[in-house]
């Protein structure tokens, strides 16, 4: 059966020198084409620069996307970011597409820093060592606690951690 709708989304994190991460977020589907580019400054992960463009059938609330996106300049990735971005870009008169783009870009930045730890775990052959590594990851990243089935209280990874 042929598709009546197809959406492709890509988010990329590029590590530049001088503590800068460049995140490119792109969406294209039958009705919309959007691009958001964000520059994050380490170590606070503050958004230094934000640019956006939306094409094809642009929702009324997103007509001024290139100006709206500037509202997120100065905010940082961290706890409370979801609420801050919702306040700046979301709501009934907001542009939900830009809100999603910023939050997904921030999530990609976090996963960018998660990747090396996962690669270390992959290189381990001893299951007990692996388990200890995941337990150390949870201890050093409290946001992981109860974030998914792996880090629920009854998971083997969480046993004896009392977090």
């Amino acid at each position: 059966m042929t598709l009546r709708f197809l959406r492709n989304k890509v988010v990329e994190v590029e590590t530049h020198s001088e503590g800068i991460l460049v995140v490119s977020w792109q969406l294209t589907d039958d009705l919309q084409k959007a691009e958001v580019n964000l520059l994050f400054q380490l170590p606070q992960l503050e958004i230094l620069e934000a640019k956006a463009s939306i094409d094809r059938f642009v929702p009324q609330s997103c007509q001024s996307a290139s100006e709206l996106i500037k509202k997120v300049e100065g905010i940082s990735v961290g706890s409370g970011m979801r609420k801050i971005v919702a306040g700046l870009l979301g709501g009934p008169d907001g542009c939900s597409l830009l809100e999603e783009a910023v939050l997904e870009s921030a999530n990609a930045v976090i996963l960018n820093f998660t990747r090396p730890g996962i690669e270390i775990a992959e290189s381990m052959t001893d299951d007990d060592e692996k388990l200890k590594l995941f337990q150390e990851m949870v201890k050093s990243s409290p946001r992981l606690v109860r974030s998914c089935i792996s880090f629920q209280d009854d998971s083997p990874i969480m046993k004896e951690l009392n977090l």
């Binding site: 059966m1 990329e12 990747r115």
Partner: protein, 140 residues
């Protein structure tokens, strides 16, 4: 160089006038997941769902596959549906399955709009597409 990249692809098939089937794929440097689900267009209710976990990080992750069935019966049109999916499928199961379902949910209205426009263009190839969407549909 690129140090992290994620791609999402969502396709929508209309099985009949009342049902749409979404196929969602999410691939990134860490995870590889796929979800297929059927949704009733009228009320956005998820009628069935199945998922495949192709790449994941630890031995507990596959236990999230049965949790996907919690999504059956949830509506993608009710207020706060995305938070509910993240809570029920993401936190209690796998966040990345939840991300795919949420993206499928975001595509529901768009897919219906796209089909309506496609059907209208079949009847009138000279149709003003932008005006059609403004007049007949509310873009998300």
């Amino acid at each position: 160089m690129i140090t992290f990249s994620r791609s999402q692809v969502i396709g929508a098939e209309f099985l009949d006038n009342g049902t749409v089937r979404f196929n969602g794929i999410q691939e990134d440097h860490i995870y590889g997941m796929e979800v297929q689900m059927e949704v009733r267009i009228a009320d956005g209710e998820i009628l069935n769902v199945k998922g495949d976990m192709k790449r994941y990080t630890n031995f507990v992750c596959p236990q999230a596959i049965p949790v996907l069935q919690t999504a059956v019966g949830l509506s993608l049109l009710e207020a706060g549906w995305d938070k509910k999916i993240m809570r029920e499928i993401g936190r209690k199961g796998c966040e990345h399955f939840a991300e795919i379902i949420i993206e499928c949910g975001r595509c529901l209205k768009q897919a219906v709009q796209s089909k309506s426009l496609h059907d209208a263009l079949a009847k009138d190839p000279a149709l003003d597409q932008k005006q059609f969407l403004i007049d007949n549909l509310k873009p998300a």
